[in-house]
Subunit: 385 residues, 4 copies
């Protein structure tokens, strides 16, 4: 029997981290053949050139798709998506996969969904059923309605996808593959590299060995005009905190220019000497950095997922993770200097938490591969009610 | 206070018929300004040049968008949609509407939805919440998840949209505007024109005055390779029936070439002398033709909607209208010569039915305009569960 | 040494006929690897589905590119070209050819040129340097200015390309590969098939064995609004001529709908019983049909090229071949019933002409392959004056 | 008589400077109506946001077109162009101009040419007929072959366009509108602003009042892999020169990322304290800055054009301006630290030159407007030989 061809489309650095162990498991599975498509910001230097990490990790790339329009505003986001539909349609037409995987809820993931669904290719959606604010919320549930098989990351998500009218047999809680990496790290948690030495970056040479925090704050697309104001509150809070901090630049989204510009101005004007900035980091190094930190501050989904498993305290700012399922390690605050400052001070003082399995127990990649190898692949469905 | 700008995107002849009274009501409303965009097959001669009827009806067109790729297969359907996203994004960027309306569930309607939602423009979805087979099913519910306000056509549809996690205050049963036209026709049902004289067409000069049926059969996109076989069953049944028949060519969809080719071959080889073929007809003339017919045969949604109100017997073939809400006037059959023949013979013998209001009572256009003028327009939402 | 990868983009049925022997020679050359891309109307059923003939001829297709927007007007022609640039850029990016071939002067050939030139891939232009009317004239010379190597079809064309400022060493008269086929046919000129039996088509069952003519008339893009009027003159002339006629439908171009519609109406209304219509024919069969005909009427470039070699009398109508180099077999007439009629009557009475070598002597395909295998491939140039 | 609608497409900051006086003259002409389209990098913050200057200068913008794909490599350059064709086709379809102007030779200008020519809109090409290296050379002459009217900037260019087979009556030497601005500046040459105060920028606070030079070096698209190495020679030379320097970031082109990155690294590592960096400057301020400088170093076309008129010494590096017509103010050097250093030292010591009129005498904008108002506008042509 020929191997099932599973086409996975990775469009951004964080999506890669989140799916990596599933990619490995698909590649290693005797009944599957991985067709890896790298597209969008994952190809761009400005967003951390994820493609380089991916190739270094030994994955063969079946197609590269340039599709990001410059401008970083809602208009170019929409046009990028349209272009993505056209390009990915070609890619699937030529690769003829047995199933296509679309990941989570970034705006351009719906391009993958349409290109597959309209060509009658079974569409598998990873990490549907969660709840957040912003355009991601619309995209995620639209992906669910276009998809034929749902591999969700939590029990909460599973119940929601079923409520959305999907056939319960097609909704499976595999946990989140990002937890697989977290599990590896949790087993050998030692920080075995010097972040500044290995990754360069810009900003102060920190004395971080006695303790540090990590900040990662992305713009929220439905609030993209406030991106600058929002991140500035965090910048001020962290400066006032005066504690060693590793800060990561935001990924590509409408408004990331606002966020990036705010960071740049703040650096130029305020010269915060407790912050060092990184563009990106290999996923495992990033998790190791988190595991050894006092806290993660910002609005990254890693705060709710990986940090739940790792037990790292998280100060979650604003609406980006609104209503996403969270363990006890998360403190929610508003875009407000004082709230952020106070919560971060508390987090630094807090011990790490017990590991929580709400997003899986570290075997998600393998579960996903096994399901893709064995479950019936269909491309037609009707709502259950 | 400036008028609210309501942008409606019409991409096909049947969508126009279905929305026409709403367009008129929006145009006439003192607090609204209509921005009418004509796109896709509605601009193409091969699909009946709906744009000509629209201009003749006195609507001003704000933008025309050529976006249909030739090929009529799933691949070009997907690429057409991607192109539509890009083009409509430009259009909305320039027109700056206060709300955008997307209609029902044709494959390219998701382009309208994405172009609006991603640009933070409130998206109104007309005729969501219904159930069918084929790719329409996926598209319709994905549109629901991208939309902010849902103006549905039946109580059944309303309950389904609410179950999909939409805020019940944002889901309003306006009935279907197509019923508004049906109501006008029902009030003056006389067939006041000679179809062949007015519309030409090809095929036999029928002796239709003593009774005739109407056939309209579209390809089903998830079954597009069977399009030819499917329509051939109907062609054979209608030929054997030997009763005067007005047959309408299918609209643009993957497979319509299969359908069209099948009809063309059948005509060439079998020379059915009881069938006359039309490309298209003005909506009111079409309804008048239906009202005076013995039955409608095929898989047109008009069979379930307008014919419910008009009380015309319908022989509904195959999966295209699968599970769509229907009144007692509909008989469902498979793609099977004998089933079609028998059901049509019965339908011809049957009296017309009582008028059913399941899709509205004829005031839908005005209701839609009033809601657009008065309800709060938002572009951010979260699932209710 | 690895084989040179030569990517040839075929976008239409007539371009295939014109390049076929070069494709074979490239495929058979020990130092070359053919990468054949089939795009545009060559993939479409409505335009004769050239792709089927190409596959039947045993060529392996490296990529298929759907890029034709429906509408057949100048606007969709331009958009098709833009889409072609985007798609072909992807194709070349993935195929990594050592050289790309663009053929002649159809509107979409500039897409091939841009996609190659902008990616620093050596661009070879086949059949530059000729002169005609219509948009082809602009496209052809723009292709020349984007190309690095010019393989022209006549001495006249060679001199013109050199005058355009191209390096004389990069301009080589290979003759036209279409003449290679003509040479084969000239060697065994017997009409070894029954056209109607083999190709079907529509229209009268002709009694053609005692003599027939062939008509092929394409719309002229700069005159696309007159397409209907222009072809109608020809239709009337041919009907009045009352001589057995094989007529070929036009290819895709702005206005071909006008031409096609005119033919359709004329058939319906006038029922010309001396004309049989074909959609398309295998290239060798077409040449055999020409060789055995009394004359070719219309504006096909085959009249000036292949018919020069075959010695077939040609009645060339209107501006499409304006100023293209011609042998003594061609009589030029205006879009005028009487002129067409008279010239065609004369042509039928005329003996066939001596074979002319102005477009080559039948070894063009091999010459082209040899040059591609041995000449230096560059992608940077400067005008010579 | 209705005013002639003249649509001008500006796709980059430098193109705007070059065409500005013509825009004003068109806007002010009683028989003309300006339709100004701003597209490509002219809309992007990263490339100096030309659109802001344009609006500040009081021009009304008829359409904005986002079309730049991220990546800054030959592949995205080609795709940007394809997208431009599609988008600009729409724009012209809706604006219905009587003529379209395309400017010079940037890669995306051919998009304007195709969108106009294919839609049978008379195409006017500004600044054809010049000679350079790089892809610009191909694009410029291809634009000439697509255009119907040629408004060239020098006598040398005029003769070349005529040699290219254009009708001499359609080739007019208007001079370059950029010289119009230069003339204004030459009449009041005083540097009436503090560059750092007005434009910010980054780098050293220079003591520039006793003398400074200006550097502007763009990547060359056919050498884009060497962009980093090339600009690094200049950076080293200027650092070693140790003379106050205003340096402008490059515009968008394949390789500008290489150039920008090289500058960024050099700044970080070498901390050159004699260089201040600007993103952009209003055209008149830029010319005033040049006029008061000791020399311009780099490969900007301003060195050959405006500086010829202003008499400013220029050190022209590498192939970008290869064979472009130049006055005596220009010294050509290779990508070589020592050559650059020596030539710049000489230039600083040299007096300014006599004004040269090879690119016009300062009345070009008005000449262009007058020709557009009065000359016959056609869209069909044939080569003259």
């Amino acid at each position: 029997m020929p191997k099932r061809k599973i086409c996975v489309v990775v469009t951004a650095r964080p999506s890669y981290s989140r799916i990596k162990t599933a990619l490995t498991a698909i590649q290693d599975h005797s009944d599957l053949k991985l067709q890896l498509v790298i597209a969008g910001s994952a190809l761009l230097d400005r967003y951390g050139n994820a493609v380089d990490f991916i190739e270094k990790d030994g994955f063969e790339i079946a197609a590269k798709v340039f599709m990001v329009l410059e401008g970083e505003n809602p208009t170019t986001m929409a046009k990028t998506t349209g272009l993505g539909v056209m390009e990915l349609t070609n890619v699937f037409y030529n690769l003829k996969p047995d199933a296509v995987l679309t990941i989570a809820d970034r705006f351009e993931t719906i391009a993958t969904s349409i290109a597959a669904a309209y060509q009658n290719i079974p569409l598998v959606h990873i990490q549907g059923g969660e709840v957040t604010g912003s355009i991601d919320e619309k995209v995620r549930h639209a992906n669910t309605k276009l998809a034929d098989l749902h591999l969700v990351a939590s029990e909460d998500a599973k119940q929601r996808v079923i409520k959305l009218g999907e056939n319960p047999e097609k909704v499976i809680n595999t946990g989140c593959p990002s937890i697989d990496l977290a599990k590896e790290i949790a087993e050998y948690p030692f920080l075995d590299f010097d972040p500044i030495e290995k990754y360069g970056g810009v900003g102060s040479k920190l004395n971080w060995k006695e303790g540090y925090i990590v900040v990662m704050q992305h713009p929220v697309t439905t609030e993209y005009k406030q991106a600058k104001a929002h991140v500035t509150e965090t910048l001020k809070a962290i400066k006032r905190l005066d504690y060693p901090t590793f800060w990561f630049w935001p990924n590509v989204d409408a408004g990331s220019d606002g966020t990036s510009n705010a960071i740049r101005s703040f650096r130029e004007l305020e010269k915060p000497d407790n912050i060092h900035f990184f563009k990106n980091m290999e996923p495992t190094d990033f998790l190791r950095l988190l595991k050894n930190s006092k806290a993660l501050v910002g609005n990254s989904s890693a705060g709710l997922r990986e940090c739940a498993y790792l037990g790292v305290p998280v100060v979650n700012i604003g609406n980006r993770q609104f209503r996403r399922n969270r363990a006890t390690n998360v403190t929610d605050v508003n875009y407000n200097l004082n709230e952020i400052l106070e919560a971060t001070e508390n987090a630094i003082k807090t011990e790490h938490f017990e590991s929580s399995g709400i997003y899986g127990n570290g075997d998600s990649g393998k579960k996903i591969a096994e399901i893709l190898a064995t479950s019936e692949l269909t491309y037609s469905k009707t709502i259950t009610y």
